[in-house]
């Protein structure tokens, strides 16, 4: 059965290693914070100028001067630090952030990603996404495998305006975990519980390599 958003977030949380600094995009990526395993020590970076994002505040803790990149009210932790936007993106471009998790509208078999614009329909802007994908060594995309109208979002080539080229390393969808190699395309690593390899092949337009027995995800 295909995963729900929480399932995707839980599976991505298993990719996280202790000691990492991590930037979480808006949407499913933000949910990942809730499922980081006990004992794994990480620091979450918010590109608007905070290292060490804490839990959401209680009502009497709410501070309008303390928000995350999704504009949600947050708290800080022991060891948090604050800084300006130039410093924040210096951190990102300089390769100091170990893992970036973000959503996407489309990912190509070369690791290109599109997630900021639908021409003529929706223009929210790229925010920090272009800086993140151009800079991070380790980028995991959280997304639905196919669109609501049933079209694959894992493509040979992105149809929407690009956010970054050859940058996505791994994709976790409601159906599968896939590695991306710019030279050979998607490689199927794991299936969602109850989802067949054939279903994933059907749902993937881009070049897909399936080798041997493909295990089911564990959480």
């Amino acid at each position: 059965m295909a995963l729900d958003k929480i399932g995707i977030a839980k599976r991505i949380a298993r990719e996280i290693q202790t000691g990492w600094y991590i930037n979480l995009g808006i949407g499913i990526p933000t949910l990942v914070a809730n499922y980081i395993p006990e004992g794994i020590e990480v620091v979450l970076q918010s590109e608007n100028g905070l290292l060490g994002i804490g839990p959401f505040p209680s009502k009497n803790q709410v501070d309008p001067d303390l928000i995350n990149a999704g504009k949600q009210t947050v708290t800080m932790l022991n060891g948090s630090s604050l800084f300006n936007s130039a410093e924040s993106f210096g951190m990102i471009r300089g390769g100091h952030v170990d893992l970036t998790i973000l959503g996407a509208m489309e990912v190509s078999e070369h690791g290109d990603i599109a997630n900021w614009k639908i021409p003529g329909k929706m223009v929210k802007g790229m925010g920090g996404a272009m800086d993140l994908v151009a800079s991070a060594d380790n980028i995991i995309v959280a997304m639905q495998h196919v669109s609501r109208s049933g079209v694959s979002k894992l493509l040979k080539k992105c149809t929407l305006p690009i956010t970054g080229l050859r940058c996505v390393k791994k994709v976790v969808t409601d159906l599968a975990v896939l590695e991306v190699d710019p030279e050979i395309g998607f490689r199927l690593l794991e299936r969602a519980p109850g989802v067949t390899v054939d279903e994933i092949v059907q749902a993937t337009e881009g070049r897909l390599t399936v080798e041997g027995e493909v295990p089911e995800m564990t959480f």
Binding site: Q61, P64, D65, Q72, S85, G125, S135
Partner: protein, 231 residues
């Protein structure tokens, strides 16, 4: 020390003329110069180019200046959460230049720091790179980006002294320090104005050299976009 105190927002923005380029601090509605925006609305100044990471929401922040059609161009990185903005953009009423957030921050920083151009990987191979020089360093492609400067920078701080030293609070810092340095005239509004000597020099985020005018702001609403609690 040099005293830069002015009485209020109306006086501070008094010489902002039509067709000026402004920088406005803030990320979302966090750390925006609320008093200066209200004064701009009252002044009726038109044809503004506004450089700001976001464009406020429909009825707050820069969104108010979009409603009154005082803005002809926005340079921003993210403009979701604002239906009127998206409408003016899609209809072509408003000229919009969208930039990667880090590129925006760094171009403003470069403006203040006298760096006319720098290379960044953000936007290579995308629409943002159109017409820009691409250059390879150590096997990776980068875009040449130029500095951004403004006629006036409008920034908001938590505390400030009469010589223009500023301290921000929490994530309300965001773009304010770089914008303070990149304005020909920088106007700072503060929640708490203190005499020179009251701020610890080691904790100052924006040295007074960057600030030409400062005033004690009032009636801060500090609206929250996404009120999110555990309860």
């Amino acid at each position: 020390m040099i005293n830069k105190l002015v009485a209020n927002a109306d006086i501070a923005i008094n010489d902002i003329r039509d067709r000026s380029t402004l920088m406005l601090g803030g990320f979302g509605l966090c750390g925006i110069p609320e008093n200066c925006i209200t004064a701009l609305l009252k002044s009726g100044v038109k044809g503004l180019t506004c450089i700001s990471n976001n464009a406020g929401v429909d009825d707050f922040g820069i969104g108010l200046l979009l409603q009154t059609r005082q803005v002809v161009k926005m340079i921003s990185s993210y403009v979701g959460e604002n239906a009127e903005f998206e409408r003016q953009l899609l209809s072509g009423e408003l000229e919009v230049e969208l930039l990667p957030q880090g590129t925006l921050a760094e171009r403003i920083r470069a403006g203040g720091a006298g760096i006319p151009g720098f290379y960044t990987p953000a936007g290579v191979g995308t629409e943002v790179g159109a017409g820009k020089e691409v250059r390879n360093f150590n096997g990776k492609d980068y875009l040449l980006e130029s500095w951004l400067r403004a006629d006036f920078s409008l920034v908001k701080a938590w505390k400030g002294d009469t010589t223009g030293n500023l301290i921000y609070k929490g994530t309300a810092r965001n773009f304010n320090p770089m914008m303070a340095a990149a304005g020909k005239i920088t106007i700072a509004e503060v929640e708490e104005l203190v005499p020179a000597g009251s701020l610890d020099p080691n904790q100052v985020h924006t040295p007074g050299i960057y600030v030409q005018r400062i005033f004690q702001g009032s009636n801060y609403e500090k609206r929250i976009e996404q009120y999110t609690t555990l309860d």
